[in-house]
Structures are given as structure tokens and as C-alpha cells.
């Protein structure tokens, strides 16, 4: 793991900057001029009540939605308007709020999908079983085993992902995103639906990813305990607008945030 930590630490110098992003769906404004910056190697939490625009924000960052206006930049690279696979190629990985794992594929195969952008063999090479394809496959399977060990799934590699408990399936998704060797990791409610034990483990993995791999993390999560413990900075959204931002402690005491979550005092 140490080798990768140094390898990524060099490359993770780019900040993810969201500037004035607005997303409209025929009359409904899902995001309204939202700006924030994710500092390299930090955990940046995006919180807010249901319907605040957190998932829309993720979909813009990963290229699934196109922003109506505004910019997303990773370092000097403009991400706005790029298709998802190009954004992934630039080192942005994400997980989904609802699992997006094929239930019958083994955990190893799911993780190997994460290596897609780092591998090259195409139809001809794999069809003819060229030695280059076999070599590539072997090398990346070894790396997948390392990453599985890092998130504590090395025992489950050969099992179908669908046979694992829900919490572990979410971990597989996290692992698959890590397999992309990303610079920025977008985690959409990574611990929702987990048992207390799984929550603790996953939170530890997330902290570990930041500390030992130096990957910037954008985190959407409803569990405030975990957010306050993990996050270096917090952005609060409500009805598509950014209503507050800062360190966890600042945000917790912000009257606008309290109002968004609990309602205005009568």
C-alpha cells in the first residue's frame, strides 16, 4: 500500500472547484449557483435535508448530468460538459446511493471493472488470448487483491457480490471506486443502511483512504456523527442553494443550518 500512497500523493495536487453551478430540469431548479472547493487530500462533506440537491451535485461532478451553467474544474482541467467516462479517466470515481453492483458477478470481477480505465486489452487481445492481455489481467488481479485486503474484503473475492450482506456490498462499491486509483472520490451515502459495526469499519476505511492514499473525498451523508468526525470541511445545501460552509464546528452552530434542519422558530 505504501508504494501507491506515495504514487498518488504526487498526483493529488489538484483541487476540485465547483463554481456557480446551476442545474434546471424544465422549470425545477435543482441546484442554484452552488460553489465550493474541495482541497486536495481532504474530506469535504456535502449535507442538507432530503431534496437539497446533494445527489444532483454528484451527478454533475461525475458527468451524468450536464450543468445548465457554471463550471466544475479539477485542477486546470475543465470537467463541465465532459461525458462520464472521460471524467472517470481524469481520476474522478464515485459510488452510488443505491447499489450499482451486478449481483451475480464475483467481488473480484466487480473490482476489476474499476480497473477498466487503467487497462487496455480490447476485443481482439482478449478474444485471441494474447499474452499481453493475460499479463495485464494477472497484474491487475494482484492489485485488486491488495485493495480488497485494504478494505477488508479479501476473503470474499470469489463470492458473488449479491450474496454478501448489504453493508459489505457497499464496501465492494467503495472498493471498486478505489480500484480506479482516483484523485477524487465521490461517496454518496457510503454508510447508509449499515449496522453500527459496519458503519464504524467503513468510516475507518474512508479516513484511511484520505490519510494513507491522499485521495480527496467528497462525502454525502446523513449520519451527522460520522460527518462531523470525518469531514475537514462541510458545505450545507438546502433547496439547491448553498446556505452555509466551513469547518464542522462552524457549520454546527450556524443558525441557517439549524433552521434548515429543524425549521424556523415561530
Amino acid at each position: 500500500m505504501t508504494t501507491t500512497a506515495t504514487a498518488s500523493a504526487h498526483s493529488t495536487t489538484a483541487a476540485l472547484a465547483v463554481q456557480d453551478v446551476t442545474v434546471r430540469f424544465s422549470g425545477l431548479t435543482a441546484l442554484d449557483g452552488v460553489s465550493f472547493t474541495v482541497e486536495p487530500g481532504s474530506v469535504h462533506a456535502v449535507i442538507g435535508p432530503n431534496g437539497a440537491g446533494k445527489s444532483t451535485c454528484f451527478n454533475v461532478l461525475s458527468g451524468v448530468y450536464r450543468a445548465t451553467s457554471g463550471h466544475v474544474r479539477l485542477g486546470d482541467t475543465e470537467l463541465t460538459g465532459l461525458p462520464p467516462h472521460v471524467i472517470a479517466d481524469l481520476g474522478v470515481a464515485r459510488t452510488f446511493q443505491n447499489l450499482a453492483l451486478p449481483p451475480h458477478a464475483t467481488v473480484a470481477d466487480s473490482l476489476l471493472l474499476g480497473r477498466h480505465r487503467l487497462t487496455r486489452s480490447g476485443f481482439v487481445a482478449t478474444g485471441l488470448r494474447l499474452p499481453s492481455a493475460a499479463r495485464e489481467e494477472r497484474r491487475h488481479r494482484d492489485r485488486v487483491r491488495e485493495i480488497a485486503a485494504f478494505i477488508g474484503l479479501d476473503k470474499e473475492l470469489e463470492r458473488p457480490a449479491g450474496s454478501l450482506p448489504y453493508g459489505q456490498q457497499k464496501l465492494v462499491e467503495l472498493g471498486r471506486a478505489l480500484c480506479m486509483e482516483p484523485k477524487v472520490l465521490l461517496l454518496d451515502e457510503p454508510i447508509a443502511g449499515m449496522t453500527a459495526d459496519e458503519r464504524r469499519r467503513t468510516a475507518a476505511v474512508v479516513a484511511d483512504v484520505r490519510d494513507s492514499l491522499g485521495i480527496s473525498i467528497v462525502l454525502v451523508e446523513h449520519d451527522m456523527g460520522v460527518v462531523m468526525r470525518l469531514a475537514d470541511a462541510v458545505t450545507v445545501l438546502d433547496f439547491g442553494r448553498r446556505i452555509a460552509g466551513g469547518t464542522p464546528a462552524e457549520v454546527q452552530n450556524d443558525p441557517a443550518v439549524v433552521q434548515a434542519y429543524l425549521g424556523a422558530p415561530q
Binding site: 467516462h85 472517470a88 443505491n98 487503467l118 486509483e181
Partner: protein, 404 residues
């Protein structure tokens, strides 16, 4: 980034491949499956010495169908892209071969064009031609997903039929055109008598081996693709399209690529079919044929090579079995005598088979054998309670923004 990340694990990686490979061989020798495969291939190799022409033709027919079904299974089964146009690409392969290999001649009042190329070259070019036809359609195939592609490819059938009936100088019109026999390294797969071990070898016997080789190679190629990096990307597109894109899979390019590959498989199947039939007729390459191919992969099992082969054997041999034994089967009468013709009877039967498979055997017939050998152990961790959120069916992120 990718270089450094890839280079990093290379050093600790690479456990000496020698012992692991040897272990693989000994383990394989212990499995009963290896012997079943061995016995099966010996049987297939020996069949031309024992079967008559009728059954050899039926077998060849099944091999051609299997090659086509493998192609369709990569597109529909593994990538989730429905295609109704498979018959069109079969026709491109079959007629492409005839035009490229045939000599110019006059037949049934049509002046037929033929390039008179060496037949092996014509066969290769016909496959590439089918791929090129798929490539022409791939801008559409890349953009449309699932059932929408199925509807768009319907157009190919109708265009294909129209062209086949009317481009008389290429296709010979309604009556079709004769297929020049394949000739490879000076060996011609025709009816000139050749006696091997006191068995006279005609075109069917000779083609049998060419068909087996073609099927084996296409199956191995497809298996390599499906188990490797492209296969994982294809399955990701089928299961979670948006997630596939986010994982770095260029979805449209992959859809287009798989479409071309599957057309090439159809083209090869078309060439083999033409060689078996010795005459291509336009009527054959209609919508029914496309539906038959879909039935094959559903009955056999979606997404796997074995499923395609089993399904193809089932669907294409069934009518032959019925025809052969029509007088001894109840309810089935000889063709042309009224009553239930063998072809119809088999269609009812595999219609029923499709329904039965979908209802009771979602993995297809291929799953029957697999279920026994590959049951995943179910180690349940005692401490972890089952989650209530129905984890077995992860909701596909069709509306990724639903929450917000």
C-alpha cells in the same frame, strides 16, 4: 497517474507462473468435466463416420446456428442490446460469400454478378463485409439502448428482404443463387467422392470438420472476450449503464463495437449456412429467423457461450427430429398432408420452451449443468443480521437524481 499506479504493484506481483499453471493442469485432470468434454469432442469427431447425410446436415445447421447465436448472445445476453436484425447480417454473410466467390453467370433469367475470388478469401471477406454492415449501423447501435435498438434493427430485416428479392444481379432474386463450394489449401468441400476408412466422404462429411473448427474458434474467441476486460464492461453496461460510464467505460463505443462483433459472427454463420444449403434463398433470412436466434439464446441461457450453443442445438435440431420421426410421433403429420407439420410442431414446442425457461429456469438450459458444479458456498456470518433493504435487487440507478 495510471503509469505510476500500475507500476507500483508490479514488483510484489508476479508469483512464479510455473507452479500455478502446473497446479491448474492437475486440478483440471481431476475434474470429471474435463473427461466429459474430451469424450464429447471425440464423439463429434467420429460422427461423420456413422451418421447419414440428413443428420450431418442437421448437425452442420446447428453449428452454424451456434456461431450466430454466440454473436447474438454477446450483444443481447451480455450487453443487454436487443437486436432483431441478426437475420440481416446472416444474409450479408451468405450472399456476400456467393457474390465474392461465385463466377458471373446467367441463372433463372438473372445475369448474376460474381467476382470469382478464391473461396477461402471470399469467406473471410464475407465475414468482414458483415462486420462492415454492422459498422454502418453502429452509430445507431451505439446510441440506442435495449429494446429501442430492437425496434430500430427491425428496419434492417425489411430493407434486407427488399434488397434480396429485388437486387437480382447480386442475389438471384426469388430463387436465390447457387453457392460455390469452399476450397481450402487445394482441398474442396464438395461432393467429389473421397473415401476415408471405407466411409465415402461427401460435402457434408467434409464440411462437418470445417464447421466444428469454425465453431470451436468462435466459441473460444467469444469466451475470451466475455471473461476478459471487454466482457466486464459489457456486463456493466447491461446491469448499470450509468455506473458503467462512471467507471470509465465508453458506453456508446462499446455498444457499437459489440454490435460489429456480433454482425461478424452472424456473417460467419451465414457463410457456413450457405455452404451447407448449397443454395441461398431470400425467404429464409426473414424475421422468423431473427426470432429463432433470440429464442436460442433465451432457451440456452443469456450471456454465455455455452448457453448460445445449447440453445442453438435445441432450436435447430428440434424441427429436424420432428421431420425425421414425423410418422411415428402422435399428432405430427408428414409435411404437406394437412394437420400439424413438423416445422409447426417444433415451433409450438420451442415457444413453450421459451415460456418454461423464462418462468422456471431464468439462467437457461446452460444453468442446469452449472447449478450442480458451481454452487456458491453460503457462509453466513452469524453476527451480521440480514438487511431489510432487499439487497439482492439493487435498484438500477435509472434516475440518478431521484433523491434530490
Amino acid at each position: 497517474m495510471s503509469d505510476t499506479a500500475e507500476a507500483a504493484p508490479a514488483a510484489p506481483a508476479g508469483p512464479a507462473p510455473g507452479p500455478t499453471r502446473a497446479q491448474g493442469v492437475t486440478e483440471r485432470l481431476r475434474r470429471p468435466r474435463t473427461y466429459a468434454v474430451l469424450a464429447g469432442s471425440l464423439l463429434l469427431l467420429a460422427l461423420p463416420f456413422y451418421l447419414d447425410r440428413f443428420w450431418l446436415q442437421a448437425g452442420l445447421f446447428a453449428m452454424a446456428a451456434a456461431i450466430g447465436a454466440i454473436g447474438l448472445n454477446m450483444l443481447t445476453g451480455a450487453t443487454g442490446q436487443l437486436s432483431m436484425g441478426h437475420a440481416f447480417f446472416l444474409a450479408v454473410g451468405a450472399y456476400g460469400y456467393c457474390v465474392l466467390a461465385g463466377e458471373s453467370s446467367t441463372e433463372n433469367g438473372h445475369t448474376l454478378t460474381g467476382l470469382g475470388l478464391p473461396t477461402w478469401l471470399a469467406a473471410v471477406l464475407a465475414v468482414l463485409l458483415a462486420g462492415a454492415a454492422g459498422g454502418l449501423f453502429s452509430p445507431i447501435a451505439g446510441r440506442l439502448r435495449g429494446a429501442y435498438l430492437g425496434i430500430a434493427t427491425l428496419a434492417l430485416i425489411f430493407i434486407g428482404q427488399h434488397v434480396l428479392f429485388n437486387a437480382g444481379s447480386l442475389t438471384g432474386g426469388y430463387n436465390g443463387r447457387a453457392v460455390p463450394p469452399l476450397s481450402l489449401f487445394g482441398f474442396t468441400f464438395d461432393d467429389t467422392e473421397l473415401v476415408v476408412a471405407a466411409v465415402p466422404f461427401g460435402s457434408s462429411e467434409k464440411l462437418w470438420y470445417a464447421g466444428l473448427a469454425a465453431l470451436l474458434l468462435s466459441a473460444l474467441f467469444a469466451r475470451g472476450v466475455l471473461r476478459g476486460r471487454p466482457g466486464r464492461a459489457m456486463n456493466a453496461i447491461r446491469d448499470h449503464r450509468i455506473a458503467a460510464g462512471v467507471m470509465g467505460v465508453p458506453v456508446a463505443r462499446y455498444r457499437a463495437g459489440v454490435f460489429v462483433l456480433s454482425s461478424m459472427y452472424a456473417g460467419l454463420a451465414g457463410v457456413l449456412l450457405a455452404l451447407v444449403f448449397q443454395r441461398t434463398v431470400p425467404e429464409y433470412f426473414g424475421m422468423i429467423l431473427s426470432l429463432e436466434y433470440l429464442a436460442m439464446i433465451v432457451i440456452g441461457g443469456l450471456g454465455s457461450v455455452a448457453g448460445a450453443v445449447i440453445g442453438a442445438a435445441f432450436v435447430s435440431l428440434l424441427p429436424q427430429v420432428f421431420t425425421h420421426y414425423s410418422d411415428s410421433l402422435p399428432l405430427v403429420s408428414a409435411p404437406g398432408t394437412g394437420g400439424l407439420a413438423p416445422g409447426e410442431a417444433s415451433r409450438y414446442l420451442y415457444g413453450a420452451a421459451v415460456v418454461a425457461v423464462v418462468l422456471f429456469l431464468p439462467g437457461g438450459l446452460a444453468r442446469l449443468g452449472l447449478a450442480r458444479t458451481k454452487k456458491p458456498k453460503a457462509p453466513k456470518k452469524p453476527g451480521l443480521p440480514k438487511q431489510p433493504a432487499a439487497p439482492m435487487q439493487p435498484a438500477a440507478p435509472k434516475n440518478p437524481g431521484e433523491k434530490s
